[in-house]
């Protein structure tokens, strides 16, 4: 793999209510094109920024811990590669296993910021307490559904990328947001009938529930797990409208 001279601009700062208010610090290092951003962060921590804070765990897109903003886009650090950054291909889900045919002596620059709409514990580490509280409000059931009604919503790894991408989550603190609402629908579709459907519907059918969505669909675009929270919200709305009109659930009209 080609080596890249990577300039990394990191929004750093102590614990605070949002990403704003930090300061950008710039580091330059030589990185293999196959490195993930987690490798880059670990290299920074081992070198010029030993006190750099960031979150990570599994390194393979299962835990949803390492989400952050890369050049303004929500990404999992473990899925994003140096080669992908250098090639300007951040629109692709992952850069792993791809040869971007970078020229010898390639250079690239990237800006890393913590997730938007999350309090910050320090540097790039977001505070998930509020987000997890919203997941509890809809009794988000993370056990994979069994049977023929299985949906793709259980693929959600609760990484918070959709919450960060949504401009309404930023402006309305009480808005449940894409992931909790997608998981509310997934709970309603769950053939094992775990949790309370009434509680899920009540949480979704309130001013800070599905009706607050403004159809930006950045949640769907940002999701690294292929979940389509935007579509889930629309399905949930349709379900609530049918319920209000007294239509039988599942009836085709």
């Amino acid at each position: 793999m080609a080596e890249v001279e990577l300039t990394v601009r990191v929004l750093r700062g102590p614990a605070r209510a949002s990403a704003a208010g930090g300061r950008y610090e710039t580091y330059t290092l030589r990185a293999d094109a196959g490195w993930s951003l987690l490798d880059v962060l670990e290299a920074l921590q081992a070198g010029p920024a030993p006190d750099l804070m960031y979150r990570h765990s599994c390194h393979h897109a299962s835990c949803g811990t390492c989400a952050l903003r890369v050049d303004g886009r929500e990404r999992l650090a473990c899925l994003t590669t140096v080669g992908q950054i250098a090639a300007g291909r951040l629109g692709e889900r992952t850069g792993h296993g791809k040869d971007y045919r970078l020229p010898r002596g390639a250079r690239a620059a990237v800006t890393l910021e913590p997730l938007r709409s999350f309090p910050v514990l320090g540097d790039l580490a977001a505070d998930f307490a509020e987000f997890f509280g919203k997941l509890d409000a809809v009794e988000a059931d993370l056990v994979a559904a069994r049977g023929e009604e299985a949906t793709h919503f259980e693929h959600c790894i609760t990484c918070g990328a959709c919450m960060s991408a949504c401009p309404i989550v930023a402006s309305d603190l009480e808005y449940l947001g894409p992931a909790p609402l997608a998981l509310a629908l997934r709970g309603l579709q769950d053939p094992t009938k775990t949790g309370s459907d009434a509680r899920r519907l009540a949480a979704a059918d309130q001013p800070h529930g599905v009706w607050r969505c403004h159809h930006v669909f950045e949640c769907t675009a940002a999701c690294p797990a292929g979940v389509d929270p935007g579509q889930a919200l629309m399905e949930l709305r349709a379900r609530l409208v049918r319920r209000r009109l007294g239509w039988r659930e599942g009836a085709r009209r």
């Binding site: 050049d71 309090p119 509020e130 159809h215 950045e218 675009a221 629309m234």
Partner: protein, 132 residues
């Protein structure tokens, strides 16, 4: 600070931050901006119409004013804002009810294409008489 102690505040700047975003966000930003422009226009509209309180002389002045080039160009701009906001609004009604939400990007561009076509025709209707 331990986990959960930091309370975030509403961040309205996110409404106008399309950096790194895609069509849906640009459509959202466009709808916010055109919405605010239309809100401002309502007040301009009422202020202009208040000239009518001055009687027939005021009416004559208003008609002269409305036939002037700056006003006609303002009308053309108003039509553009109305079409973008209105047709994107129609898209949102359908998408918001789950109809074609998988194709929301294509619907946006279709709405904008329709807006452009109607805008071209309306511009001709507004400006052609003044051109002659």
């Amino acid at each position: 600070m331990s986990e959960g102690e930091a309370r975030r505040r509403p961040d309205w700047r996110a409404w106008f931050a399309p950096r790194g975003r895609r069509t849906g966000m640009w459509a959202f930003v466009l709808n916010r901006i055109t919405g605010l422009l239309l809100l401002a226009y309502v007040f301009v509209h009422l202020a202009v119409l208040s000239v009518l309180f001055q009687g027939p002389a005021g009416y004559d002045r208003l008609v002269r004013w409305m036939s002037s080039w700056p006003f006609l160009l303002f009308d053309v701009a108003l039509v553009a804002v109305l079409l973008v906001h209105g047709l994107n609004g129609v898209r949102l009604v359908f998408v918001g009810l789950g109809a074609g939400s998988h194709r929301q990007r294509e619907w946006f561009w279709a709405a904008m294409a329709a807006a452009a076509a109607v805008f071209a025709y309306t511009t001709y209707l507004i400006l052609a008489p003044a051109w002659r």
